[in-house]
Structures are given as C-alpha cells and as structure tokens.
Symmetry: C2
Subunit: 417 residues, 2 copies
C-alpha cells in the first residue's frame, strides 16, 4: 500500500522532471513568484496546521528550543515567501556551457549544466525547509520529493499544498513538488531504495538520520551537516584576535554545525591564552572541558573525557586541548574532525600554508571564524545544506550543486576509426 | 578474520591518502615512472601468474572472447607500462584554484582541487585495469584499494605487487596501492560498508556487479558503464551518413558500452532507409530484430520482442524500430535508455536542438557515432570509467573526476556579525 503510493510519487516526479528539464527560466521564475504569493494566501491554514503541531509537541514535552524551531508566525511565513522571491531573482545555472572545445577531428564537444532530475529531501523539525528546498529545486529544474519530520507533519503538509497548488496554477507539472503524506517510517525506507526514480537524496538533520540514510540508501546520497569544528590557536597567533574569533565561533549561534566544539592551543602560548579564554568564556556561560595540561594552567577547570573530543555539543560547551605543535593539531583534527570547518589563528606565513594544505575538510580558514561556512556568506545566494562528503559537492551547496552536466557533441558524419 | 584484514587495509589506505595529499607532482610522477619500470622488470612473474589464470579459465570453459580479455603478453605488459608513463606526462589537476573571489567584507574565498582520499575499485576480468586505475589514482593523490575478479586473481596480484613495490621504493606510502588479497566474496561486502575509510567506490563490470554495489554500499558509489545506446535517424537525415554512422556504432566494437543497441527510424524515411540498413547489416553478419512496422517494410526480418528494447546485446545484434516522430524517439529513449550515449542523425536545425535539449543522457550526439563516448576521444588524456549517474561525474571520467574540492578562506580576524 505505502509501496504502491511511493512508486506512484516516484513515477510522477520523474515525469515532472522531464517536463521541468525543458522549462524556461521565465517559466520557473513565474512559478516561484506564484509560490511566494500562494504561501501568503494560505497563511491562516498554515498557522492553524502549525498550531496543531506545536500543541502536540508541547504535550509530548518537546524542549523550548525545539518548539521555537517548529513554531511559525505571520512574520516567518512572510520570510519564507521572501526567500522564494529571492531565489527567483538569482541567475539560473541551467543551460550554462561549462566547457566547449573542438577536437582535432572537428568534433565539437561541450558540457552543459542540466538538472539532477528528482531530488529527495529527508529533514527534521524546521518547516521552512519545505519552502526553501522546494524553491531551490524548482529554480534548478528538479522535481522534489519532501519527507519532513513527524513533529512538523501538519505544517509541512499545509506549506507543501500551498506551494504545489500555486506552482501547478502557474503551469508547472503537478509532480514537481510532492510531500510524502504519511508519518510511517516505512515510507523513508522505500524512498531510500527508489533509485529508479530518485537521482539524489539529501538528508538534513541529526547524525542518526544521516547515518541511517548513508547506510541504507540505494539512491546516491549527499551527506550534510555534522560538524565537529576546531580552531587552532598557533604559537604566532594574535591572542586578541584568537579570543574574538573563538567567542564568535562558539557563542554567536552554538546550535549550528559550523560552531566551534574544540579549541586547540599551542603550548607556547597556552599559559598566556588559556586564562584569557577561561575568563571570557565563563562570563559568557560557556562550560569548558580541559585536557590535563590545560588543567595545570587553569586549575579548577572541568576535566575533559575522551568522548569530549568527538562530541558535537551544539551547546555552550567547549573542549580545550593544549598541543605541542601545528602537526599535533593537524593530527587531532584528522582523528576527531568531521571534515566540516577548521580554522587556524596565526601570523606565521609557514603555519598558514601548512594548515591549509594538511587539513582535509570542506572549509579551511585562516584568521576567520568557522561560522562563515554558509552558502549566503560564501556568496552563493542560497543554501540547500552543507556537504561533508567529497563526492559531487563539498561545503555549502547552492543552486549549482543541485545540477548535473551532460556532454553534447556536434558532428558532421563523424565515425570512430 | 577477513573483517580485521579489510579494516587494516582501510586504515593503511587512509594514512597513505593523508601522505599523498601532500605529495608534489614531481614525487607522484617519479613514482609513476618507477611503476612503469617495475612492471617491465616483473614481466616474467606477471606472465607466469597470468598463465595460471588462463589455464584455470580454460579448464572452467571460459569463452574465447573472455580468455582474450584475460590473456597478457609481453606486448600488453609494455602497453600497461606506457599507459603509466602517459599518465605521468598529463597535467596534475591537484592544487588548481577553481574559483577565488573576495567577499564584500574582505574575506577571500577560493575552491581548490584536492584528492578524493581513498578510492575503491571493484572490477572484472581485464588485468590491465589494475595498472590503469592505480596509475590514475596515484597521479591524483588518491590511495587505491583494488578488488579484481577471481578469474584474474593471480595476474592482478602479480601486477599489484610490482606496482606497489616500485611505488614504495620511490618513496610513496606503502598503503597507496593495495589489492584485496582473497577471492572471498565477503571481502567485497565489507569493502562496500567501509565508509569510515573509503571515500568512493567505482564498480567496473557487468550490470549485476554494478547493481549489487549500488544497492548495498554505504560508501558513495559512481555507477559506470551499462549502455543501452540509441541512434535516431530523423526524417531529415542524410541517409548515407546515417548508414555509415549506424555501421560504425554497431560494428566497430560491438562488445563495449557505447555501441548502439537499437536504431530508431522516422517513418517518413523508413521505406527508403530500412532496406539499405538491412542489406549492409546482413552483409556484416548483424542480426536485426524489427518492430511490426519494420517487418512490413522488410519482410522476413526477425521480430523483436519487448525485452529487445531494454537489452544491451554487446554483440552483433541490432533492434530496429520505426517511430512516428522525434518526440516518439525521445520517449522511447527516456523509457529504455540507460542514460549513456544517444545520437540523432539529421539536417534539421530544429530537430537537432530539440534532441539535444530533451534527451537526458551522459552524452548526446548530433551526426556522430556513439562510439566517441570515451575519455581519450573527448580529450581527457585518460579514462577511469564512464559514469551513467548524475552525481559528481557524468560521462567519461578522467583525472579531474578523481578529485574533490575544498574551500580555503583567508581572513584578517573576521567574525560573523
């Protein structure tokens, strides 16, 4: 029953993808504007549906921070609509010729940017992802199958319905935006195996969700998000700068994947830097968990356990480790990092070069906060997620990362000798 | 036991990848030249090992075409060595800055080409893949784990041993080139799940192998190879050109993935073209299997069954179908094609544009043979396989497709507001 329904969705999405592949930029932008208007017009229904989700969340004892992520307001709906308009205003990557050259035999060979086809998104809590992801996929000519979390089921359904109705009225194929209309886990299992219909799956959410998808999907997956990010304060660092950046990377928004989780401090400056760091962080209510050496320098610090080095706190907690050298820092990051964002604070040219070369991560910073790893901050104008894998896309993904390419070849009767 | 051994290989490969990431182009090229010499020096051992495989194949009743693919000679070993030298001579893609720009806040953000890390290759029969794949991975700074077919086990082992010894002697980490040293299937099952150590898996072989890997791997996979390729002869085609290209695409090398398997003929020219096609193809020993309409035009043709439209013959067999229009051809290809290579023969500008836009495949040709889909023919200087998926790489994959990117960001104390 669910199997048949999911197959039906897949087939419809594939049809929609074929139609979207041929849609002009004008047609897609018109649909995006219509979708923005559709959200505003459906505001009352969306807010009502959201109220039901929030009530259910409260009854189940959901934390206030999760409730805050779930809750919609007229303002938040307006922001979603503005997001769709902003995507309409971005340049369309589809159709761009990436390479085009003539071979010695006269064949002209080019690579053209095309949609991926059908994109599946599996996500948790925030209902605004429904509108953001649908907008980015429509702009890039991809059909989308959305599977939101059960905690936002009613909200997501109301939003998806408004978007899909508006897009259809603007001439877009009815399979272009579809939401999996059940909270049954079986639907996810089926979706992950639907490689006949789905070209890529993007899981957005906690580590558990992402690992399940990576382990079980037959559909190609883009892994997103988990960030155990480090800042290494080199012997040659400007300590004031290091302090400012550390505070920003830890405190400006602790709950996100590009926040710093461990600070690595060169032993040569540890006795100067650690007391400064401790003072400021304690003032900001950050709990520090230190290695043995740091406890010698700042007595009374809570001791870090082995598990601390691999924990993504997403909270006002910071692990602190004194290292003997830049290479020790690199080794620690290679062992515990998740390949997301890593930074060095230094005035040494040699240290900066070595760190940039030796760290294997999506984003490697010199003298800047890890919090900058973000599609908007990187100038992409949009973000569908942050990839921590190496295939296809690495780091923040914008519109281009939602595309594939195809070779087109102009001949004149060419045959292979 | 196998589990532990595979884990050990994975760990060693990961270490090697970290070391290779920092290797200079000179160091890598020196190792490639040493590997070429190593193959020549180990010629006798390799030929002896290969003899054992060939004898076993013969005893098991292997077909002569498979035996031919398996069999090595001094000449073939020399060709493998020359292949490695040719890879040494190619430009190194690693370190290339792909984009670099300054943001309004002064942050300088660039994208740099880096190795993928650890590449796993699962392949069948031809032992030369061992040398080719190892060379391409070394050039791009990737560690490689090779898993060849059991039919070439001794040959692959001798080749890998020669390559690995030569690379180590030239200063490359001993984990850079490793062959799975057992024919036990369990090793493949483990390799597919080793996403802690392996960054990408490339299966090269038959449809069965590829589907198994796609279904079961937790490691990201690049799907290669299966090609159910079509040529559409439009109403406006030059029939002589169409005939030449059809013969080339079917007969020049029928056993490969870019050979044509079905020809689609516009009904307006079918009565002129089909008798010509039948005459030439029958002379070339090609068995034709026609749709009902084509049987009306050429009586005595063998009738095609439904299964013919989805079969990759890899043999001197050709399915023939008369279609009413270009759109019918596009629809047939969308339904039965594998997204590999598709061609139109036409003198109509409109038809060429429509076909190029509407066909969703790795390579779309106008007036040229599908046989050109090949890394060397496309000017890449090398080929590790032909991707038929849309993620990361699509179509022939050369050195660039064995790389990832990382963002590097130069700041000056930047914090996120």
């Amino acid at each position: 029953m669910i199997q048949a329904k999911m197959e039906e969705m897949g087939k419809l999405a594939k049809e929609a993808a074929h139609s979207l592949m041929l849609a002009s930029t004008e047609e897609k932008n018109r649909a995006l504007i219509a979708m923005a208007r559709g959200l505003i017009e459906a505001r009352e229904e969306i807010l009502q549906a959201n109220e039901a989700d929030v009530k259910q969340g409260r009854d189940k004892g959901m934390s206030s921070s999760l409730l805050d992520r779930l809750m919609l307001s007229p303002q938040r709906i307006r922001e979603m609509a503005e997001g769709l308009e902003a995507v309409a205003a971005l340049p369309d990557p589809i159709g761009e010729a990436i390479e085009m050259s003539r071979r010695p035999n006269g064949l002209e060979i080019g690579k053209i940017r095309v949609p991926l086809g059908v994109v599946g998104i599996i996500y948790e809590s925030r209902p605004n992802v429904t509108a953001d992801a649908a907008g980015l996929c429509l702009k890039t000519g991809n059909a989308i199958i959305l599977r939101g979390g059960s905690e936002a089921f009613n909200s997501n359904r109301a939003i998806a319905r408004a978007l899909s109705a508006a897009a259809s009225a603007a001439g877009v194929h009815s399979g272009a935006i579809q939401l999996v209309d059940t909270t049954d886990r079986e639907a996810v299992n089926i979706l992950m195996k639907m490689n006949r219909y789905v070209d890529v799956l993007i899981p957005r959410g906690g580590a558990g969700l992402i690992q399940t998808v990576v382990q079980q999907a037959a559909v190609p997956v883009i892994q997103t998000g988990v960030g155990n990010c480090h800042i290494f304060v080199d012997a040659d660092a400007d300590l004031g700068m290091a302090l400012d950046i550390a505070v920003n990377a830890k405190c400006q928004r602790p709950s996100v994947c590009n926040a710093m989780e461990t600070i690595l401090v060169h032993e040569q400056i540890a006795t100067d830097f650690l007391p400064l760091l401790t003072g400021v962080m304690q003032e900001l209510q950050v709990e520090l968990r230190g290695c043995e050496k740091s406890l010698e320098i700042v007595p009374g610090l809570k001791a870090a356990q082995d598990a601390d080095w691999e924990t993504e706190y997403l909270d006002l907690i910071l692990a602190v480790k004194v290292v003997k050298s830049l290479d020790d820092a690199v080794e620690h990051i290679a062992r515990y990092g998740t390949g997301h964002s890593e930074a060095i604070i230094t005035n040494s040219y040699a240290s900066s070069r070595r760190f940039l070369a030796a760290i294997d991560a999506a984003a490697v910073f010199v003298n800047a906060s890890t919090r900058f790893t973000d599609g908007f901050q990187f100038g992409m104008g949009a973000e569908i997620g942050i990839s921590t894998q190496k295939l296809h896309a690495r780091g923040p993904m914008g519109l281009k990362e939602l595309t594939s390419t195809k070779f087109i070849i102009y001949g004149n009767g060419h045959i292979r000798p």
